[in-house]
């Protein structure tokens, strides 16, 4: 009895002591920052939305730009960006135990000067977080919430697509795994390419109905709308129909998942091209319905060109150049509203911009990103034909020098001498590239380019900032950008997708699905008309000019034409690396040395001799996709490394 009483007594004391314990241990004051607070109000929820967008690739920052990941542009050796290093064969599956992450990795993210790229898996998580939580916001209508959800959904699909582009089959992360997920659960597996594509397309389709038809508001432009979603869907389906992803048994017959299913479908499915064509058509119609149109210059005529405005060639120059650099022009479907802006030296424009010889400051013009000779050869002749196909063009002697004739004065310096390669080319050549003894519209004037050693625009002494090829880039430079102060560089929304790509998507897909047709020609001619060159039929039917006349009438010939048209039209916009790979022809381009003029020479004869300016390395099939890092594979043994790595 006594013992029982004691126990009771003692327990009572213990109980008294414990009653206040919950309060005693609850010491964190309210209002500590927590993720859920983000979704209290619309104004703070914007941060969550901005966070999703922030992972979009930044092609206008020179160190983060995928534009340099091909053979289009190159730099001096000691200025190489990671993209160039990657193209030189320095990509590897490095682990954090060694020297960090694989170069330019969307899977692991990477840091680049000015604009680090977070892992796109983080991006996907950010989108899912928004989708899961946006309903908590109290001051938004349901319609608004649905629209935001749709935006995040589209972005999520887009991030999956970017990963698919660089890694092929990927795990699909439709919902966020909880932090407490066991290690078995977090070890996700890669899905087949078809599965991924279906997921991406159906996710975009789910998003479309809730997206606004078109966003043009001055505060909101840059956000996703239906036109954008349909345009990107067109690109997704085009890629999916392409040889790299469609029936790629030659590369990936042994690349299978745990069950033995090949990650890449093994037989080509022509129907995928039809899907791509339909999607392109749908996108074009949606775009046109919302007022998107091919861009033709309608701005003021600068004083220095008023005399020349009568010439179509001059007008073509303006059409082509401003189609990229004119902010929010009619052709732009989705532009990055988050450009690398004025004050930052790492913007791509600054590294390619020509110095203003009349200004003592060269702050904003580094002049070290140069188009390669290969790009100079890519553009058509003035007849709209490849230089090797145009009988009127002296292809064999294209590297020899000749006098600039009077009628060539609009693009070259009359009375001076330059390479034949630089003469008699299509307007896009002149609106995209600057060359020795050429003419350039920039810094508010007409400039005569002199690019040999120690000349006004050539290499001075042995500075490390110079154009290694003897060509300069015009296409990505806003004509009003001046090279003496960063804030004089005119920013523009980087074209993520624009209408001319949709026409090219349509033409390519339709030709692959059904062969040549007037619809294909019409689509191509939309692009060629703006470019200022004859139509397909006109250019390729005249046997006196076209070496292989009628090439456009057979599917293979037309495929070549479409591919070159695409490489020209979308040059320097970050497409080439992806296009060459999806066409499975990357090794033809990306494993041969780049060439350029001898920029360390001052005499004409020596300058116009070709030299190697950089290697490119591409191993097939290994380099068709990027490696997953060593660490990631150790961490998740369910992942299969891409073949060759």
């Amino acid at each position: 009895m006594i013992l029982k009483n004691t126990i009771f007594y003692v327990s009572f004391i213990g109980f008294l002591a414990l009653t206040s314990c919950e309060d005693y241990l609850d010491i964190v004051p309210d209002g500590t920052q927590e993720l859920s607070l983000l979704f209290n109000r619309k104004e703070t929820a914007y941060n969550a939305l901005a966070n999703c967008y922030s992972y979009l690739p930044k092609n206008d920052g020179v160190y983060s730009s995928y534009v340099l990941a091909s053979d289009e542009l190159t730099t001096p050796v000691d200025k190489e960006t990671n993209a160039i290093k990657m193209m030189k064969g320095q990509l590897n599956n490095s682990s954090s135990l060694n020297d960090g992450k694989p170069l330019m990795s969307f899977w692991s993210g990477y840091s680049a000067t000015g604009s680090s790229q977070g892992s796109l898996w983080e991006a996907i998580r950010s989108c899912n977080t928004l989708i899961e939580n946006i309903d908590l916001v109290v001051d938004m209508t349901q319609q608004e919430k649905n629209a935001w959800k749709a935006e995040a959904k589209f972005l999520k699909a887009n991030f999956h697509f970017l990963l698919l582009t660089y890694y092929g089959p990927i795990p699909v992360i439709d919902t966020n795994l909880p932090i407490s997920a066991s290690d078995e659960v977090v070890r996700v597996e890669r899905q087949t390419v078809d599965y991924c594509v279906n997921y991406i397309v159906s996710t975009i389709n789910e998003a479309i109905p809730n997206l606004p038809e078109r966003v043009l508001g001055s505060n909101d432009i840059g956000r996703v709308d239906q036109v954008i979603a349909k345009a990107i869907k067109s690109r997704v389906l085009l890629y999916a129909a392409s040889p790299l992803f469609n029936g790629n048994s030659s590369f990936y017959s042994g690349f299978v998942n745990e069950e033995g299913t090949p990650f890449f479908n093994q037989t080509q499915d022509i129907a995928k091209w039809q899907l791509a064509a339909d999607a392109a058509n749908e996108a074009i119609e949606a775009a046109i319905g919302q007022g998107v149109s091919m861009y033709y210059y309608n701005g003021d005529v600068p004083l220095y060109d008023t005399q020349n405005w009568q010439y179509e060639f001059i007008r073509d120059q303006y059409d082509n150049r401003y189609a990229i650099t004119e902010p929010w022009n009619s052709e732009l479907i989705w532009g990055s509203s988050n450009p690398v802006t004025g004050g930052n030296w790492w913007q791509l424009q600054a590294s390619a911009l020509m110095k203003d010889p009349s200004s003592s400051s060269v702050e904003a013009a580094w002049q070290w990103v140069a188009p390669t000779l290969r790009m100079a050869e890519l553009y058509y002749t003035k007849n709209g034909l490849p230089i090797s196909e145009d009988l009127s063009f002296d292809y064999t002697n294209r590297f020899s020098v000749e006098n600039v004739a009077f009628n060539q004065r609009f693009y070259a310096q009359y009375g001076n001498r330059t390479a034949k390669l630089n003469l008699n080319r299509e307007p896009r050549f002149y609106s995209s590239l600057g060359f020795d003894r050429g003419i350039m519209r920039s810094w508010g004037g007409l400039w005569q380019l002199k690019m040999r050693y120690d000349e006004t625009h050539g290499r001075f002494g042995f500075t490390s900032d110079y154009l290694t090829s003897g060509y300069s880039l015009k296409k990505l430079i806003h004509p009003d950008s001046e090279g003496d102060a960063y804030n004089k560089i005119v920013p523009y929304p980087w074209p993520i997708i624009r209408l001319s790509e949709l026409y090219l998507n349509y033409a390519e897909a339709l030709n692959e699905a059904n062969g040549p047709s007037q619809q294909v020609y019409d689509a191509l001619n939309m692009v060629r008309d703006r470019a200022g060159i004859p139509t397909i039929e006109e250019a390729w039917s005249d046997a006196t000019i076209a070496a292989s006349a009628g090439k456009h009438t057979n599917p293979e010939g037309l495929r070549e034409i479409i591919q070159q048209e695409r490489m020209i039209e979308l040059a320097f916009e970050g497409h080439r690396y992806n296009d060459l790979r999806r066409w499975k022809i990357a090794e033809q381009y990306l494993s041969t040395p780049l060439r350029g003029w001898s920029v360390d020479e001052s005499s004409e004869a020596n300058f116009y001799s070709l030299r190697d300016i950089g290697i490119r390395s591409f191993s097939t099939p290994r380099d068709y996709f990027h490696p997953i890092s060593f660490d990631e594979l150790s961490i998740n043994p369910n992942l299969v490394q891409n073949p060759g790595w």
Partner: protein
């Protein structure tokens, strides 16, 4: 609080059978038998004639014979575990003595969690040390631990006064979580390692470490790393007893590294240049070298031994302790005051009027007062304050020792003698050369000083109430404690003036002139001030019940409710670091003991911590144990009388550790988010100016984060033989689970912006701790005690949250926690062909990192044809020793006493850090050993100590590898003490004065394979070395 066993309750009376023969003043023979209360003869009892150095001990039958000098002699009878008695002979020739067990003596009553228990009933694993064993001539108590306490792994890496705390771990390191060191409680209140370090051994009543689950589970979530329990002395009824101690010691480095002289340095420097570059322009001219060799003008041809220039050979320290205790029926007191002065080895510049040497003055005051308010109600107040005044250099003295390795002997003297141009300057002309920027450690050392005042105060109030009126054996007590700490520090320095020396050719020959390299300040720049403070509060309420039924069934119960809070009051920090840390819970114990033979105990702790989510806030940690004193069985006592103790124990249970992360990483159920993160936002709008910030997650919320749990099993054996030898041997196993750690196997596909941690780590540990005691009195005036301790603790990681490495050499699983990783060095490269035929090392065939014959060749562990980080493998033994041991004896012969203690550590290794000692790099000093043993073309020894010389860093050789791995085992003569006790006088002013003088030597000898520096410093050998101390002391008691 002590528990009295009923059978011992009758205190035995002094017993004398008298057969009086002799008259006063005559010597006579006294004999008799000494037995305990049960009549069992006691062996080895000391019987001393009071005031005379004359004594005897009992034999196996408990008999003694003593020739006393006078019939009126009084005999002092003492025996371990029994009350000491003084018996007047009064002329009797046979004096039989019954000894009463001393329940208050340390040996019989054991401090346990929240209470005390009779020692034989304790079944948990607890090591107790006598405070006197922790007395060494050091003002840091923690430095005395190594080898003295079975179950404690301890080592000391630095000897810098004020920063020389030893590391110590109960039963080794058994977690790789955040907190791996024990909970330290002083009179129940949690204190820091530094607080513990400053305790005066003189004031310590008991010092125990609690090792197993039964001993620690009452501490619940704080006990998994073991508990150190210290109690301070309390006053006892009686007249005032005064104890006074004064010590004065000489302190010098135990070992100092040797560096090259200037001539050898310069020659080798030139050699090193040519080793890598045949055409290098030699740095030191023949003229410079021969000039130095001939001892020409030392300012032009310096040969500086920086170590001598900076440091004194020894320094003097003082210590004083005075304590008084006593009391009456109502109140008892223990009062103590002590003062110490500890100084460093740093020299002071004669031109400075401030002191840049370490000079620490500490005073502490303790008052422990017990008041009996009534027969059943007692109040206890404990108060302790430590005041510390620190003066020292502006940089840490350890860094100054390190700087000696950075400067070379040939560059310049520490200061120049003023010439006619500088004669009247009121500043020191510190040496430098060229355009300056070369390290001059002397200037760094003397350029300023730092002073600090720190105060620690502990205050405690306790109320005890006997509740026998409710039921017999029930008591309750409540306690409230507070500890505060504050420190204020100022650092002041001037900017040194640096000078160089130049030579001028004139008609009269060359003349020297001084030129100024750096303009300094002749005044002290503004001080930099820092403040820091924290405080702890602790409350506990204890209900206790002890009762014996039917003389055989002894029942005990204990229930504790407690709460604690820790605050960072000054020091700033984040929102999280400034919030208090709190812990609360209840704990309990029930014990049962049958006839002092069978013991059973069940304990638990139930704790809550503010760190965790509400659902997981409280943890329950039960433990149970069983003991059997076989020697108390009747059959045993009969058949094996010489085995006085044979006890078996087993315990098992869970204990927690809530110290799983630092203070700024708490509240695991909350995320840490920057909701307005500029870097991850986006612009919209025509003019790209509708910008919204993004957010960034620094930590994901995780409600499930909880305690670390240790599952502990302990097997104990206690053996006592002949009342002389006591063996305590224990084997333990521990399985530490729920270790909070990063889940490294979270793939990128999770899309997390930061790593996530959770309770996944697991470690298995096991080990042995043994202590062996031996006491023997050869005769009354010669007795000897010897003691040995041995602790072995090893562990392996079971779960590490790591990726599934393809190469097992990278995995930590199966490896000890403190295992070191590095490359496996095979030898030095023999020639170019050897290099060409070996795997490429660290991209060395490229341009950035080249290597040559004579550089280190590594093993391609993963056999992938290249040497890179994937080739790292576990090398050597763990950094924390797996074995720590100590042994020694003390002997008393008449008035003289002598003791020796040896201490060692084994199964440990460390890495020399080559980048800190590689000679000539940045004109760094060169260790003498490198001169004698390095690779060269003339001596292409592929196993030379130092690879091919170089004057620039050789990345290839500076990797952690077996090349730099050294055996950290050592055995040292830790202490030797020699003392003399003056005979006690019975009359006069000094009556009853007990005086002892003694001298002590500390760290006198080292036995180790490694000899570059004190091996206990491990890889950190160029710091402030552990000290060798010679100490003189006097102790007075009256």
């Amino acid at each position: 609080m002590l528990i009295k066993k009923k059978s011992f309750k009758t205190l035995s009376l002094v017993f004398a059978l008298l057969i009086s023969i002799c008259s006063y003043g005559q010597s006579m023979i006294v004999k008799g038998k000494v037995v305990d209360e049960k009549g069992v003869p006691l062996i080895g009892v000391t019987i001393i004639e009071s005031g005379v150095n004359n004594g005897a001990a009992t034999d196996f039958d408990g008999n003694y014979v003593l020739n006393v000098q006078s019939e009126s002699a009084s005999l002092v009878v003492s025996y371990v575990g029994f009350q000491t008695q003084t018996i007047e002979v009064s002329g009797k020739s046979t004096v039989n003595i019954i000894m009463a067990e001393d329940l208050e003596s340390l040996e019989e009553v054991q401090v346990v969690a929240f209470s005390k228990q009779k020692k034989n009933s304790v079944i948990g694993s607890i090591s107790t040390v006598k405070a006197s064993d922790l007395k060494i001539p050091s003002s840091n108590l923690t430095t005395a631990f190594a080898g003295k306490i079975a179950g404690l792994i301890s080592y000391q890496r630095s000897g810098e006064p004020g920063a020389d705390n030893a590391e110590f771990f109960i039963r080794g390191v058994t977690t790789f979580g955040y907190k791996n060191n024990p909970l330290i409680l002083l009179d129940g209140l949690e204190i820091t390692t530094s607080d513990l370090a400053r305790l005066e051994p003189d004031n310590i009543a008991t010092f125990s470490i609690m090792k197993d689950a039964t001993a620690t589970s009452l501490y619940g979530a704080r006990g998994a790393n073991g508990v150190i329990l210290v109690t301070t002395k309390e006053g006892k009824k009686g007249k005032a007893r005064v104890s006074f101690r004064y010590e004065n010691s000489f302190s010098a480095p135990s070992q100092t590294p040797k560096f090259l002289g200037a001539v050898d340095y310069m020659r080798m420097y030139n050699q090193a240049q040519r080793m890598r570059d045949q055409s290098a322009l030699l740095k030191y001219s023949i003229q410079q070298i021969t000039g130095t060799e001939q001892g020409l003008n030392p300012e032009l041809y310096p040969d500086v031994d920086w170590h001598n220039e900076l440091f004194k050979d020894y320094t003097l320290n003082k210590k004083l302790n005075l304590n008084v205790s006593g009391g009456g029926e109502v109140a008892q007191y223990y009062l103590s005051v002590s003062h110490s002065n500890e100084t460093g080895l740093l020299k002071v510049d004669p031109l400075n009027n401030f002191n840049n040497n370490i000079d620490i003055k500490r005073s502490n005051l303790r008052a422990n007062i017990n008041v009996n308010l009534s027969k059943t109600t007692k109040v206890a107040v404990k108060y302790y304050s430590l005041f510390e005044r620190y003066n020292g250099p502006t940089v840490s003295a350890t860094d100054i020792f390190g700087m000696v390795a950075q400067a070379n002997p040939a560059n310049f003297p520490k200061t120049f003698t003023p010439d006619e141009n500088t004669l009247n300057f009121n500043h020191t002309l510190f040496g430098n050369k060229g355009n300056g920027g070369y390290p001059n450690p002397y200037a760094e050392m003397v350029k300023g000083f730092r002073d600090r005042f720190a105060n620690t105060t502990l205050a405690q109030f306790e109320l005890k109430q006997d509740l026998s009126f409710i039921t017999e054996g029930l008591k309750i007590r409540g306690m409230a404690s507070v500890r505060t700490y504050s420190e204020n520090e100022n650092s002041r320095s001037f900017t040194p003036f640096f000078y160089g020396i130049g030579q001028l050719d004139t008609d009269l020959g060359t003349s020297n002139y001084l030129y100024q390299i750096q303009e300094g300040t002749e005044f002290l720049n503004d001080p930099s001030v820092s403040n820091y403070g924290n405080s702890n509060f602790y409350y506990q309420l204890v209900t206790e019940y002890n009762r014996t039924f039917n003389k055989k069934h002894e029942v005990g119960g204990l229930l504790v409710a407690n709460a604690s809070e820790a605050l960072n009051t000054i020091g700033g920090g984040t929102a999280f670091t400034t919030l208090p840390s709190r812990n609360m819970g209840i704990s309990g114990r029930t014990s049962y003991n049958y006839d002092s033979r069978f013991f059973a105990e069940f304990n638990f702790g139930y704790n809550g911590s503010e760190k965790f989510a509400k659902e997981n806030r409280f943890g329950f940690f039960p433990s149970a144990g069983f003991g059997w004193i076989v020697s108390n069985e009747a059959f045993f006592e009969k058949n094996l009388p010489s085995v006085n103790l044979f006890k078996l124990r087993y315990t098992y249970g869970l204990v927690g550790n809530d110290g799983i992360s630092s203070a700024d990483d708490r509240f695991f159920y909350l995320s840490e988010v920057n909701l307005n993160n500029g870097g991850t936002g986006y612009n919209w709008g025509v003019n790209y100016n509708n910008y919204y910030n993004g957010y960034n997650i620094d930590r994901y919320d995780n409600e499930s984060v909880t305690w670390e749990v240790a599952e502990k099993a302990n097997y104990g054996l206690e053996l006592g033989l002949f009342n002389k030898i006591t063996l305590l041997a224990e084997y333990f196993e521990e399985h530490r689970k729920n270790i909070y750690m990063e889940r490294q196997y979270i793939p990128e596909t999770m899309g997390l912006t930061t790593s996530i941690n959770s309770n996944i780590g697991e470690v298995k540990a096991k080990g042995v701790d043994i202590s062996l005691d031996y006491n023997h009195a050869f005769s009354g005036d010669f007795y000897i005690t010897a003691r040995g301790n041995f602790t072995y603790s090893t562990n392996e990681i079971l779960v590490n949250g790591e990726p599934e490495y393809q190469n097992q050499n990278l995995s930590r699983i199966g490896q000890p926690i403190n295992q070191q990783w590095g490359y496996i060095a095979e030898r030095l490269f023999i020639d170019e062909e050897d290099i060409a035929n070996s795997p490429e090392q660290f991209n060395g065939f490229g341009s950035t990192n080249t290597y040559l014959p004579g550089d280190i060749k590594y093993k391609d562990v993963n056999e992938d044809g290249v040497i890179d980080q994937l080739d790292q493998a576990p090398i050597g033994k763990p950094y924390v020793p797996e074995i720590v041991y100590g042994f020694g004896f003390s002997a008393v012969y008449k008035a003289f006493d002598f003791s020796v203690f040896m201490q060692g550590a084994a199964r440990t290794s460390f890495l020399i850090e080559p980048s800190t000692i590689s000679p000539f790099v940045n004109e760094r000093n060169a260790l003498a050993v490198i001169a004698n043993n390095h690779w060269s073309e003339n001596n292409p020894d592929p196993n030379a100590f130092w690879p091919r010389l170089s004057v620039s860093p050789v990345e290839n050789n500076e990797k952690p590898s077996t090349w730099w791995l050294r055996d950290g085992d050592f055995l040292r003569l830790k202490s030797v003490e020699f003392g003399y006790t003056f005979p006690e006088t019975k009359t006069g002013f000094f009556s009853n004065l007990n005086a002892r003088v003694y001298c002590t030597g500390l760290n006198l000898l080292n036995f180790a394979k490694f000899d570059l520096w004190d091996p206990e410093m491990a890889g950190n050998g160029l710091g402030y070395p552990p000290q060798r101390v010679f100490n003189l002391g006097v102790q007075l008691k009256f």
